[in-house]
Amino acid sequence: MTYAVELIDVVKEFPPGEKGKAKGVVAVDHVTLRIRDGEFFSLLGPSGCGKTTTLRLIAGFETPTEGVIRIHGRDMTGIPPYRRPVNTVFQNYALFPHMTVFENVAFGLRMSGLPKKEIAQRVEEALAMVQLSGMEHRKPRQLSGGQQQRVALARALVNRPEVLLLDEPLGALDLKLRKAMQLELKSLQQRVGITFVYVTHDQEEALTMSDRIAVMNEGKVLQVGTPVEIYEQPANRFVADFIGETNFVTAPLAALEGNLGLIRIGDRQILRGAVVDEGLQPGTEVTLAIRPEKISLLAEPRDGAIPVVVRNVVYVGNDTRYEVELDSGIRLFVREQNVHRADIRRFTAGQHAWIWWPPENARILVQ
């Protein structure tokens, strides 16, 4: 099967002196990604993780130090940006300030030498698609941030690229507009059926919009998967920590029970969780990751429950956060949804309680 975009073992190293550092910087470190046709694919990671550099490698603004990049099976080595079947929506939009909205959107079509009539028609369509009809003769600086963002989108989409690259396109918008644009972008992508490669540091944005997500850190791809996989089955501690909120308990693996792992804290408390890596031997230092909302806080003990003391109660609207302390001094966060009015303060600080979770809800990760 051919993929829309394929990165095979790609390395990008900036020589010493660049990026303001005396030592060379490896911005992208042996990255392999296969992006399917028609997919909304996100590159997610903290700033400086190499996600933007990866995007620029696909666009052709950077040349990889090692590795191959293919777009629909065609090797892109040595192909300049202007001959690649991709278009980019830039973070700062990069609208040409000396051209009108029409000229901006028409630029790509003009470069490919289409007849004037067809250009006008396609620009009109593109502007209608992003709901900017009637703005053709304005200059970019006369538009609001949201409108500029739409022009940038129209300017890229009008060329009907095989892949659209988006570099944090919503970063400069305010929260409300951003939420609206997220939904709009997603539905737009489904309508036009173009592969989107979307760079963001906002996990919520990535989870809402993407078909699949690649989580990156320090130039490496840590996990690729659907939003559900990324959230429910993080492959390692970084992913679990970066996406959503997670409790971590580090201890040696005590025993294995099928695909469940047991870790022992102190003398008697045993925590259970699903083992991610095959062939893990008891005795290895592991981390148990459990999300706060997957822990049940009980007033009565039950089989496998662990006694705790409630230390802190914080009401945060739709749910309540508890900080509980185990006998061994380890503290965990628990989140309880406020379904009924009585749920709001079921426990108070200092109260004794029990916590329990279905073992498969927790994950045991290698350090």
Partner: protein, 326 residues
């Protein structure tokens, strides 16, 4: 009662202000008189009295202004300094222009309005020739230095590291730093040692040499402000290097290039010292010609040509500002 004071006060202070203005103006005249009659008793006495009048008058005047407008002493001094300096900058220029319309051939006595001197000017063939050389040098030096300076600016701004960048950067600044008289004599020596006869070409060569630096500085400032992702965006949309330069870089850089070109043109038209040294017989520019006319004596004809040059400079400045505002 308070209202009565309030209504009386402004009028009172206006009177003080008027009186102190009278004192200051009188005092200045008195000081001038003292300078003329320096050494004589009446001169010394008038001088001392005038000095007192100026000091006391300005003190009282400023107090009155303070009461009327609430401006502090510092702010008043700021205003006074600004108005006096602007007057100082413009009085000579205005006098020059006014006297170019004076009918009198000698002296500063006003004998009537005339356009005679401008008429004389237009029939002066030497002036015409100098004008032609000036514009020729100005045009070509602007063209050459604008292209070269822009290219140099592109090299220095777009390539942060290349061998020889630092010395090139330094050499590019040197013509701005070195006194023009040094540049003038070294260029003259160069032409003489190499056996190049002094002509309009030698003037052109020297003018391009100093103009490149100014153009490069102006264009570099513009380039540094330019968002480089715009060029990437153009390439992303299918424009190759040449079209990116043609459709994006050049149009965005144009205001800077035009400003640099106008500056170069003005510098070329205005330059006297360097041109004076490297111009040969039969190839003088307007400033050099005006200089030799001045050395022969102040005449209304020089006033007229100066007034015209002034108008030329002002129109060039306005043109440059208008183009930059667009």
């Amino acid at each position: 009662m308070t209202t009565a004071v309030m209504t009386r006060r402004p009028a009172w202070y206006w009177m003080i202000l008027g009186f102190s203005l009278f004192l200051v103006l009188g005092g200045v005249m008195g000081l001038l008189y003292a300078v003329v009659k320096w050494g004589t008793p009446q001169g010394m006495i008038t001088g001392a009295a005038a000095l007192l009048a100026v000091l006391w008058g300005s003190y009282q005047g400023m107090r009155a202004v303070r009461a009327l407008t609430g401006l502090s002493w510092g702010e008043q001094l700021l205003h006074l300094n600004a108005y006096l300096l602007l007057l100082f900058l413009y009085i000579p220029i205005v006098i020059l222009v006014v006297y170019s319309f004076n009918a009198s051939k000698r002296g500063a006595v006003w004998t009537g309005l005339t356009l005679h001197w401008y008429n004389v000017l237009f029939h002066d063939r030497a002036i015409g020739k100098a004008m032609e050389v000036t514009l020729w040098v100005g045009f070509w030096s602007t063209l050459i230095s604008t292209i070269f300076g822009t290219l140099a600016a592109l090299a220095l701004e777009r390539f942060p590291r290349f061998r020889g960048r630092l010395p090139f950067d330094a050499v590019l600044y040197l013509p701005i730093i070195i006194p023009d008289i040094v540049m003038a004599i070294s260029t003259l020596l160069f032409f003489v040692v190499l056996g190049m006869p002094l002509s309009r070409y030698t003037i052109l060569i020297a003018h391009v040499a100093f103009n490149i630096s100014y153009v490069a500085v102006v264009v570099r400032a513009r380039l540094a402000d330019m968002d480089a992702t715009l060029e990437e965006a153009a390439m992303d949309l299918g424009a190759d290097e040449w079209r990116t330069f043609r459709f994006i870089t050049l149009p965005l850089l144009m205001p800077g290039i035009v400003a640099g070109a106008l500056m170069a043109f003005t510098l070329s038209l205005d330059d006297f010292v360097i041109t004076f040294f490297v111009s040969g017989p039969g190839s003088t520019t307007l400033p050099v010609r005006v200089y030799s006319m001045i050395r022969l004596g102040v005449t209304p004809e020089v006033n007229a040509i100066s007034a015209l040059m002034l108008m030329g400079s002002i129109s060039l400045l306005l043109l440059s500002l208008a183009l930059q505002r667009r």
